[in-house]
């Protein structure tokens, strides 16, 4: 993965490492802590998320509603990171548990969260 003025090494990372990097909090999905993430995609538009067909993808979003979880379920996305200190609802947690999806809340903005993960080497989709 090359970038402006420097080379970044593209690395896979576990969900646990992502939680540490983003100072996040795992809301549900303990069994996914060692799940390996190969790419990240950030959007508040589920229409755009549904066009991505990459496996082992971390979804970064600020959209907290049931359709975020449904979108992850349909797209086989197993890990969703919510930015801007957004809180997930119990309905979302129940649906995520049903579909074996891990949810993380983190206090930073989407820009900062993406920056931290990019700097650490987590590749983008495009």
């Amino acid at each position: 993965m090359s970038t402006f003025g420097q080379m970044l090494i593209s690395i896979e990372m576990t969900l646990n490492e992502i939680i540490k990097l983003t100072k996040g909090r795992l809301v549900c999905g303990d069994s996914k802590l060692n799940y390996m993430l190969k790419f990240a995609f950030a959007s508040d538009l589920m229409s755009d998320v549904l066009t991505i067909d990459t496996d082992n993808l971390l979804l970064i979003t600020g959209l907290t509603n049931l359709q975020t979880i449904r979108t992850a379920e349909m797209s086989d996305i197993q890990t969703v990171l919510f930015v801007r200190n957004k809180k997930v609802s119990q309905d979302m947690i129940d649906l995520a548990n049903e579909s074996d999806i891990a949810l993380i809340e983190c206090p930073s903005s989407m820009y900062k969260t993406c920056g931290e993960l990019y700097k650490a080497g987590l590749p983008y989709v495009f």
Partner: protein
């Protein structure tokens, strides 16, 4: 393995709390049939886009899935305003979605183009003031 089945789910227009339920149930059935995971994902995404379209635009509708050993056919039928210009509706970025639909994360004008991308065949027929019918076919290669 030989199988032949049909599933039908009624979809309520405007009920975003339940949008995706039918697609989720159908996806679970497809997983039990041990189909190729990439094919399941393509069908699930197309189903969900079609279901969200019914919830977002129609008064009511249904999703019917027919599964046999050769292909999976999805029929998404609705009673609603219909589509005046199908070519325009197939254009990425074109949307008539309401503010409420956009708040849910949809209405980016990617739904129908994304269904086409995930299907082997997509047939659309629509009558303004009556409703729309999509036929989405995926072959089990």
């Amino acid at each position: 393995m030989f199988f032949n089945m049909q599933l039908t789910y009624e979809i309520a227009g405007g009920d975003f709390g339940k949008a995706g339920y039918a697609s989720s149930e159908i996806k679970k059935v497809l997983k039990k049939l041990n189909l190729d995971l990439r094919i399941i994902k393509k069908i699930a995404v197309a189903l969900y886009e079609a279901e969200v379209n019914i919830v977002a635009h129609a008064y009511r509708g249904s999703l019917t899935v027919e599964i046999d050993t050769v292909k999976i056919s999805v029929k998404a039928q609705d009673e609603g305003p219909g589509i005046a210009d199908i070519d325009q509706a197939m254009t990425e970025g074109f949307s008539t979605a309401s503010a409420q639909v956009r708040e849910m994360g949809f209405g980016a004008g990617m739904g129908l183009p994304n269904i086409k991308k995930n299907a082997d065949e997509l047939n659309i027929s629509s009558e303004v003031g009556k409703g729309t019918e999509l036929e989405i076919i995926t072959y089990l290669k």
